[in-house]
Assembly symmetry: C2
Homo-oligomer: 210 residues x 2
């Protein structure tokens, strides 16, 4: 796929080559990458340049390095969207709003998909969540939302949502209050019955408590 792009910068080429390597070797999270010296020889570049590329990927959270151990594909693909966005890019209100809006897009779509599918509506997890909300004083917001995303059976959307949720985690309330309980239960009940409109309405109401 990637023809020789004649990148002026060596380290960018290495980043690209590393990406190819990860795909070609089908490396899984936690797998070990070749050592810096081996990469340096393999690619015919200096070790310093290899390090510059590896560091860049490390800052992104794509790889993890252990001193004396080696370099590994990140085990928790949480990436570092959170800190990076927060510290560098997301000073503007517009960007913050975009993150929340995009989260909401995926959450609402998950609700729609579940409502439209009998099998998904009847998953036992909704009853479990209902009881959990009933019994526990605090429920973690994202836990509920994650279940929605998981149930909607779109792994890519789930992955995107996880990144966005990780960012919002710092800015939003983490747990639900007593007030939200009835709203949430209405959401879950509507969901199980397939009442899309009511479910979405409850979801929208819930957003007001953020």
């Amino acid at each position: 796929m990637n023809e020789k792009q004649e990148n002026k910068k060596v380290f960018l080429e290495i980043v690209s080559k590393l990406k190819d390597l990860i795909i070609r070797e089908k490396l899984q999270p936690g797998d070990k990458l070749p050592s810096e010296r081996v990469l340096s020889e393999m690619l015919g570049v200096g070790r310093s340049s290899v390090r510059e590329a590896l560091r860049s990927l490390e800052l992104l959270g794509i790889i993890e390095t252990r001193h004396g151990g080696g370099t590994f594909l990140a085990s928790s693909q949480q990436y570092r969207l959170v800190e990076l966005l927060a510290t560098f890019i997301l000073q503007e209100n517009q960007s913050i709003r975009d993150v929340h809006k995009t989260r909401e897009i995926h959450e609402k779509e998950a609700i729609r998909i579940i409502c439209a599918n009998k099998r998904l509506r009847e998953l036992p997890v909704w009853e479990s969540l209902f009881l959990k909300i009933e019994l526990e004083t605090e429920v973690i917001r994202d836990h509920i939302l994650r279940e929605l995303l998981i149930a909607s059976e779109n792994r890519l959307a789930l992955r995107i949502w996880i990144q966005l949720a990780a960012y919002s985690a710092g800015a939003l309330k983490k747990v639900t209050t007593e007030e939200e309980k009835p709203i949430l239960q209405r959401l879950l009940t509507s969901l199980r019955l397939g009442y899309e409109k009511e479910a979405l309405k409850a979801y929208t109401e819930w957003l007001d408590y953020l």
Copy 2:
């Protein structure tokens, strides 16, 4: 409070210090950062470590370096992050179905947002597109969809969509056929009138021609 964050990694400390520097000195896009050697002395670290930090920020698009010129705060602060992470996330996620579904999520949401907003509905671009479809034999699908995403005024969603669209570009038809014309025109007309339901229906019909 405490400046010293006790990061194990020097390069991460430098990244952090650079962030502080940018804020403290109130550097604006395009402004010059101290040279590598100066930074190296200022922070009491080796030049290679400084370079590793600078490269990381460069990959993120936060700074730009000009060979022989110096290092500058990036003029266009873009979501480079989205593009970078997208390549990795999309590669891990080998399900093309998920890519299409996620595309559709964003496209449908864009339609909803436009329908719900008078100002967006009245954008001249819809009439232009309508005429274009009328006059030209072939219209590029993604061109139409991109306009929808742009109009929905969520830059993050737009960037995500662009990545998804690029990824699925090889698998889908690129241009519209004669048959699709009336459907598309119905979509655009409904959009301008704010008939969300009809617009979404036309969109769904259009999907069948993919």
